[in-house]
C-alpha cells in the first residue's frame, strides 16, 4: 500500500533521515519504533507530504506521490493523526468533524460511524476542542481522520500522554479497525507491547536509520526490546 524508499529528509541544514526504507503491506499494520528524536515523526511527515524529502520517493498503491501536497494525498485515501493530540482549538468538537465531512457525499454516515467508535465525543459536540482533555482530543483526532474513510492511516504515538483507561480504549479501537480489513496502518509507538500486538511488520529506527526490522506479533517482542535497548 505504502512504500517509503531510501528517503533522506531533514530540516534546513540538518539531515534527520538517512536513507530510510519502510513499507506497509495492503490491509496490514506496520509499526515504527525508536527512541525520542530517532526521526519517527519526521518519517510520517514525509509520508504525508508535510516535509519534502531531499532524496528518495513515496509511493501509494504504486503511484509516486512524492510531489503531491498533503490534501491531495488525503484525496487519494491517506489520513494522518499527528503527534500531540492536535485539533482546531476554537472549533467545537462537532465543527472539527464537520470540517472534514463537508462536501463528502458519505460525510454524514462516516461521521456517525466515527462517533460510534468514540461515543464520548457525542456528549462533547458543543464544546470547543481546545477545552477537551488530552484523551478526548486524541479520540477526536482519530475520529476526524476516519471520516475521510482512508485506506491508509498514519498514527503518530496515539496513546502518548494519555491516562491508562483511555489508552486501553484507544488501543482496542485501533486493533478493531485494523482487523475489520480495508485499512492499512503505519503506526509509530513507544509502547512495544501494543505495537507488536497490532503489527504484522516492525521497523526499529535509530538516529535516522532502520537498524532492525522483521515480522510483527508478540513473539517478536523480545527481539525488538533487545534492538531498542542498544
Amino acid at each position: 500500500m505504502l512504500e517509503i524508499s531510501s528517503v533522506q529528509a531533514g530540516y534546513d541544514r540538518t539531515t534527520v533521515l538517512h536513507g530510510v526504507t519502510v513499507s506497509v503491506p495492503k490491509d496490514a499494520v506496520a509499526t515504527v519504533l525508536g527512541h525520542n528524536g530517532a526521526g519517527k515523526s519526521t518519517l510520517l511527515r514525509v509520508a504525508m507530504g508535510l516535509l519534502k524529502p531531499k532524496k528518495g520517493a513515496v509511493l501509494l498503491g504504486g503511484e509516486d506521490i512524492t510531489r503531491l501536497a498533503p490534501h491531495q494525498r488525503v484525496a487519494r485515501g491517506m489520513a494522518y493523526v499527528p503527534q500531540g493530540q492536535q485539533s482546531f482549538p476554537h472549533l467545537t468538537t462537532a465543527e472539527n468533524l464537520r470540517l472534514v465531512a463537508d462536501g463528502r457525499p458519505d460525510g454524514k454516515e462516516a461521521t456517525a460511524e466515527a462517533l460510534d467508535l468514540f461515543p464520548v465525543l457525542r456528549e462533547l459536540s458543543g464544546r470547543r476542542a481546545g477545552l477537551l482533555s488530552g484523551g478526548q482530543r486524541q479520540q477526536l483526532a482519530i475520529a476526524r481522520a476516519l471520516i475521510t474513510r482512508p485506506r491508509l492511516l498514519l498514527l503518530d504515538e496515539p496513546t502518548e500522554g494519555i491516562q491508562p483507561s483511555v489508552v486501553a480504549e484507544i488501543e482496542e479501537t485501533i486493533l478493531a479497525l485494523t482487523r475489520r480489513g480495508g485499512l492499512s496502518v503505519l503506526l509509530v509507538e513507544q509502547h512495544v507491547g501494543f505495537a507488536m500486538r497490532a503489527a504484522q511488520q516492525y521497523y526499529v529506527l535509530e538516529a535516522g536509520r532502520v537498524t532492525s526490522s522483521g515480522e510483527g506479533g508478540t513473539g517478536a517482542e523480545p527481539t525488538v526490546r533487545a534492538a531498542l535497548s542498544v
Partner: protein, 294 residues
C-alpha cells in the same frame, strides 16, 4: 441633550465608516496575518467602480445598488490576484510582504492617476440619500444612516459565513492550525485565496460607501488605511466583535472630542488613547482563550 445625541450619531456614523474599511482587514490582517498596504487601494478601486458605473447608468440609485456587488467583485479579484502573484510566496516573511504591497499600493495609485486623472472626482448621491430624517430635535443624515446599515449588514453577513458555512469552518481551521487543516484534506492555498478575495472585496464595498461622504481620488485609500489597521489591532487580532466595538468607540470618542476641541487635537488625543490602551492590553480588546495552544 440634543447636542449630545447629535454628536453621538455623528460618532456612530464615523464608526460605521471605520468599521466598513476595517472589516476586510479583520480577514486579511486579523485572520491571515498579512499586512497588506494595498488594502487602501482596493477601497479606491471600489470608489472608482461606482464612478465609472454612474457614467453609464443614469439613475444614481440603480448605479449605487449595482456598484455594491460589482465593487466587491472588482476589489476581490484584485486581492485574489495579488495573493496569487505575490503574497502567497511571502507568508513567512512579514517585512517583505509589507514592502512589496506598499510598492503595489503606489503602483495602483499611479494607475488611477493615469486612467482617471490626478484631480478628485465626485459621484452624485441618489436623491433619497441626500436628505435628513429628524426625530424630535435630533437629525440623521440619510447617507450616514445608509452607511451604518451597510456596515451592520456586512458584519452580519461575514459573521454568518464564518460561523455557519463550510467555507467559514475552513477559513477558521486554516487560521488555527494550517498544517492540520492541510493534512485533514483542506486545500489551504485555495482557502487563503478565497479569504483574501472576501477581505479585499469588503474594501471595495467600503469604497462605494465612501463615495457618499467624500471625493474620489487616487490617494483616498491611504487616508483611511492607518485607521483601519488601528481598529483591528485595538479590537484584538482575529476578533470580529472587537473590531465592531472599537470602530464605534473610536468614532464616538473622535466626534465628542472634535466638538469640544479641534479636529487635529481630537486625532492626537485618540491616538494617545490607543497607545495607552495597547500598553495596558497589548493583545487588544478580545483574545481567544483555550486550555492548550495545540
Amino acid at each position: 441633550m440634543t447636542v449630545v445625541l447629535n454628536q453621538s450619531f455623528t460618532g456612530i456614523s464615523i464608526g460605521a465608516v471605520l468599521l466598513l474599511i476595517a472589516l476586510g482587514l479583520t480577514l486579511t490582517f486579523g485572520q491571515m496575518g498579512v499586512i497588506n498596504m494595498a488594502h487602501g487601494e482596493f477601497i479606491m478601486a471600489g470608489a472608482y467602480t461606482t464612478y465609472v458605473l454612474q457614467k453609464s447608468i443614469s439613475s444614481a440609485g440603480v448605479s449605487l445598488l449595482v456598484a455594491l456587488p460589482l465593487a466587491f467583485l472588482v476589489a476581490g479579484a484584485m486581492g485574489a490576484l495579488l495573493e496569487w502573484l505575490l503574497i502567497r510566496r511571502l507568508y513567512t516573511r512579514p517585512l517583505d510582504t509589507l514592502l512589496v504591497t506598499w510598492g503595489v499600493s503606489l503602483m495602483l495609485q499611479q494607475l488611477a492617476r493615469d486612467v482617471f486623472g490626478a484631480p478628485n472626482v465626485q459621484t452624485a448621491a441618489p436623491d433619497i440619500l441626500t436628505g435628513n430624517i429628524s426625530a424630535g430635535s435630533v437629525t440623521f443624515a440619510n447617507n450616514r444612516l445608509f452607511i451604518l446599515g451597510l456596515a451592520l449588514l456586512c458584519v452580519l453577513g461575514l459573521t454568518l459565513i464564518l460561523r455557519f458555512t463550510p467555507l467559514g469552518r475552513r477559513i477558521r481551521a486554516v487560521v488555527q492550525n494550517r498544517d492540520l487543516a492541510e493534512v485533514s484534506g483542506i486545500a489551504t492555498g485555495q482557502v487563503d485565496r478565497i479569504t483574501f478575495f472576501i477581505g479585499s472585496g469588503l474594501a471595495g464595498v467600503a469604497g462605494v460607501a465612501l463615495t457618499l461622504v467624500g471625493p474620489i481620488g487616487p490617494t483616498m485609500g491611504t487616508n483611511y488605511i492607518v485607521d483601519a489597521f488601528l481598529v483591528v489591532v485595538v479590537g484584538g487580532i482575529g476578533q470580529l466583535k472587537g473590531a465592531v466595538i472599537t470602530a464605534f468607540a473610536l468614532g464616538v470618542l473622535q466626534s465628542v472630542l472634535e466638538y469640544s476641541t479641534t479636529v487635529s487635537v481630537a486625532k492626537v488625543v485618540v491616538l494617545v488613547a490607543i497607545v495607552a490602551f495597547l500598553q495596558w492590553r497589548p493583545q487588544g480588546l478580545y483574545t481567544l482563550r483555550t486550555r492548550s495552544l495545540a
